[in-house]
Amino acid sequence: MSNEFHIVVCGSIVPDPLQTLEPVQGAQGPELKNEMMLPAVLDPWAGHALYEAANLAAKNPGSKVWLVSLGPKAKLQQVMMNIAQKVPFELVCADGSASGFTDSFEVATVLAQSIEGIQGLDKSKLLVFGGWQSASRGSGAVMQMLGELLGISEQFQGVDKLTAGDDGSLEIMERIEGGAYQVSACNGTPAVLGWATGELPEPPNNPQVGMQNMRLVMPALQQAKPADVVQGSSLAFAAVELPQQRRETRVVKDMPVEDMAREIVEWLNS
């Protein structure tokens, strides 16, 4: 027997980690220099959550996956060209900043409103997935707040594995201190799961899935409602700066791994 899940994955974009990020003071608070021109990728934690959601939905016929994103819609569109080829989902988009200079509560509020507005969503079957952390600003608070706003008290963070029983129950493995796991039993939906890395690799592209997804993604992007999570926020930044860290790279060929390990240990201990 299978279960039907309505899985909402919350995830947005972050600047490509290869880019130089420089905080600057914009008209509405801090922002990244040339933010709109920086190439973006799906937040890796959100990616894990999305692939786990698609896998769960595939195993349980009748299930459906929505990806709820708060981000600038033009940048989201570009990222979707890649992500939409991976797994089937329906995009729900709120057009706003994804810079990381946003207040967790404001973000959670926008996401909750977006989820509430999804046509045909059955809250009794609802699993809200998201990243435990984010590559843009890992406050680790959004998912908890979102769960509270949606009235879902079953919450799990740092999830690496979810097993659904035939009776609709859920077994969830969460990361805890020291590389250990906590295994919890949950009677069933609704629940909020903040994913760590999960156990699934990035799925290969399937352009036919992409073509199907994009037919819904494009209208969703065009109809995205503006979400002002910066100007309307009570959050104020006194100052923002990049961590003062210098990369000192040496190119050394044919160095034995033992010597590499020794150098790293020496560096850590220094």
Binding site: D16, L18, Q19, T20, K33, N34, M36, M37, L38, P39, P72, K73, A74, K75, Q78, M81, N82, A84, Q85, P204, N205, N206, P207, Q208, G210, M211, M214, V217, M218, V251
Partner: protein, 685 residues
């Protein structure tokens, strides 16, 4: 003075190359890029290019192509693909992305498509669906191996090259029956891509039996009875990420494998298409991606060169932190910046030309099919009758050409629409244009591109020819040489152009371009429109002069056999096409970029930079074209030639059209010194 904030990204490219509204193409770009900058870059960095043999390591490429969806890019949806309709632009974009890292990987990706192209263009519906369907990765629930193909042309041993008139493959009847005779095919291939793993070969063969007429292309499978020897690996020094061998094939196959089918008349097998007809229709389109592969090398060189220049003096005692020498390195000097502008501008111009050719090929495909259908309905059969029917439309086509290049507000909209809807008019116009753009893309982009790539390598000094050089610039430079010979060496492209560029329709098009560019110049000065227009005018005058003049020894100047005249004129035209299409692309960027939420903020600066690059390239191209024209007009006379007074005036206009080009180069170079580049390379060493 403007600022170039970052290197142009997808938003810019999508507008300039006109696929902003095609999410199927944007998906393909992302897929190809994902492979290029991971699997392909890793293979190159690990030294996979150091062997001629196809290895398990190299075979990772095939898996990556399958998993990313690139293998299915060439197929129609009912065959397992995902794009309906022509796919020239899609294939060009994918090749561009792969060649951004490695040209051999791009060739490997395109090779199965090349094997399928004869079947796609001229095969029977059954042949098409069978072989195209076998070459897409299995769908969920399917249990089958994916098949791959190789394309064996007419390369005679021992040399290589595309001379379609010299055939080394033979076909004869082995067993006669009236339904499906069994044929024996004897084909020795050379330089055959994909041959290490190809399950089938589409081979060009000629009749060695009076019961078979002429020549054909035929499909050979590895399971066929006889010898399917993959042969020795070709010892090529470039493009090692594509498999290349010299196979020996001696197989018995049914005649139903003849591509396009056949009929039996009076005891003779008559193939529907000769090998020449099939190759002609295939090469019409497949030349374009190869030209763009070389252009990808030039644009991909920009970031690594900037990175090298800026960090040149860091890490030693040569400069103290915080000094201009430390921060800007070699970019403190004008020369390094301006030479890089030259490389970049060449790449942009070549891309504008190549992608324009791809888009034209996509538009031309359905028109060509509609033309065939229309002529069939009208009973106009055979190339000669069709040519005569099209010739009657000459004036109407020229009328369309003029309307096409007028601003919308100045043309008769009803008449324009009427001619736009006329299949034969559209066919005649597009055929004339494709007859120039396809060989010109291949000729200029790979030929001049290889030379410009040498400049890019030299900008990284001795580091450029080391394995540590970021961007694999040395490999790209040498790869470009092979690309210049793919799908016909440069002489083939020049020969093609020397025939097509004299057509009335194309000459009318050049005249229309000149008028169009002059209007652009008045509205958008400083982007090289005047220099390009004047150079085209000079080229057109020269062509006309050469066609009606004899040399000092009384021999005709513009003649089929006189390649010392016709070929340089093709080269001159090749130079001018890039700036023309770059200017059009920049106008598109100016208009559409302002409406793009990502670009709107910095669009004026970005367009200003591109206009300066176009101006630089236009001046260079006009100079090259003018030099060639001058040599041809003056070089065949003893002393001062007669009747060339107008030439001097036109040439003076070309010179004057270069006004401000060096200031443009100053500005563009300065802008490069401030552009933000990523912290790390976009693909690893």
């Amino acid at each position: 003075m403007y600022t170039l904030r970052t290197l142009p990204g997808d938003d810019v490219r999508q507008i300039m190359w006109r696929y902003a509204d095609r999410y199927d193409l944007q998906m393909s770009v992302q897929s190809a890029r994902g492979i290029a900058r991971t699997v392909v870059a890793k293979l190159v960095a690990e030294g996979a290019r150091n062997t001629h043999e196809w290895t398990d390591q190299k075979a990772e490429l095939l898996t990556a192509f399958d998993q990313s969806g690139l293998t299915a890019l060439f197929m129609d949806p009912h065959q397992g693909g995902f794009i309906e309709g022509p796919k020239n632009l899609a294939l060009a974009l994918a090749a561009f992305e792969l060649a951004w890292v490695d040209g051999g990987a791009a060739t490997c990706s395109l090779a199965t498509n090349l094997a399928l192209a004869p079947i796609h263009e001229k095969g029977t519906p059954e042949q098409r669906d069978t072989y195209m369907g076998q070459c897409v990765p299995p769908q969920p629930g399917e249990d089958r191996e994916i098949r791959r193909g190789a394309f064996a042309l007419t390369e005679p041993l021992p040399y290589i090259g595309v001379d379609t008139g010299v055939m080394c493959g033979k076909v004869r009847v082995a067993e006669w029956n009236d339904e499906d005779p069994i044929l024996e095919v004897d084909k020795r291939g050379r330089f055959i891509t994909n041959m290490d793993f190809a399950n089938f070969v589409t081979a060009a063969v000629e009749s060695d039996d009076e019961r078979i007429k002429s020549s054909c292309m035929i499909i050979l499978e590895e399971e066929d009875e006889g010898t399917y020897d993959r042969g020795a690996p070709t010892l090529k020094m470039v493009h090692q990420l594509s498999s290349t061998r010299d196979p020996v094939l001696k197989l018995r196959v049914p005649a139903s494998r003849i591509i396009g089918g056949f009929e039996i008349k009076d005891g003779t097998i008559i193939p529907k298409y000769s090998h020449g007809e099939i190759i002609g229709s295939v090469f019409h389109r497949t030349r374009i991606p190869v030209g763009l592969m070389t252009m990808a090398k030039l644009i991909s060189a920009v970031e690594p060169v900037i990175r090298y220049h800026r960090k040149r003096f860091q890490g030693g005692d040569a400069a103290k932190e915080g000094t201009p020498r430390f921060d800007h390195g070699i970019q403190m000097n004008e020369d390094a910046l301006q030479r890089l502008v030259d490389v970049w501008a060449s790449g942009e111009a070549g891309c504008s030309l190549g992608f324009a050719a791809s888009r034209l090929a996509d538009a031309f495909d359905p028109i060509e099919k509609a033309k065939e259908k229309l002529f069939e309905e009208q009973g106009v059969v055979g190339p000669r009758k069709q040519m005569m029917a099209l010739r009657k439309l000459k004036d109407t086509v020229q009328e369309f050409v003029e309307l096409e290049h007028l601003p919308e507000s100045e043309r008769d909209a009803a008449r324009y629409q009427e001619l736009k809807d006329d299949t034969l008019v559209q066919f005649a116009y597009m055929e004339a244009l494709a007859g120039i753009l396809n060989p010109a893309t291949k000729l200029w982009c790979t030929g001049v591109g290889a030379t410009v790539m040498r400049e890019a390598v030299s900008l990284v000094g001795g580091y450029g020819i080391t394995e540590d050089c970021p961007g694999f610039l040395m490999q790209k430079w040498t790869d470009a040489q092979l690309e210049a010979t793919y799908e016909g060496p440069e002489a083939v492209q020049r020969r093609h152009m020397s025939v097509t560029m004299t057509s009335d329709v194309f000459q009318a098009t050049v005249s229309a371009w000149i008028g169009q560019l002059r209007r652009v110049e008045s509205d958008n000065p400083g982007m090289g429109a005047e220099a390009t227009a004047s150079a085209l005018e000079l080229w057109q005058w020269t062509l006309n002069h050469l066609q009606n003049t004899k040399d000092a020894e009384g021999r005709k100047l513009y003649h089929n056999k006189r390649q010392g005249v016709t070929f340089p004129m093709a080269d001159a035209l090749g130079w001018l096409l890039g700036p023309y299409y770059l200017i059009l692309d920049i106008l598109e960027l100016k208009e559409k970029g302002a409406m793009n939420p990502v670009l709107a903020d910095g669009i004026d600066d970005l367009v200003a930079f591109y206009m300066d690059m176009a101006n630089v390239q236009a001046a260079r191209a006009a100079g090259e074209a003018a030099r060639i024209c001058t040599e041809l007009v003056y070089g065949f006379a003893n002393g001062a030639p007669e009747g060339v007074e107008p030439f001097a005036g036109l040439k003076a206009k070309v010179d004057a059209g270069m006004a401000g080009a060096r200031l443009s180069k100053d500005r563009a170079g300065k802008a490069l010194s401030g552009v933000m580049i990523p912290e790390a390379l976009d693909y690893p060493l």
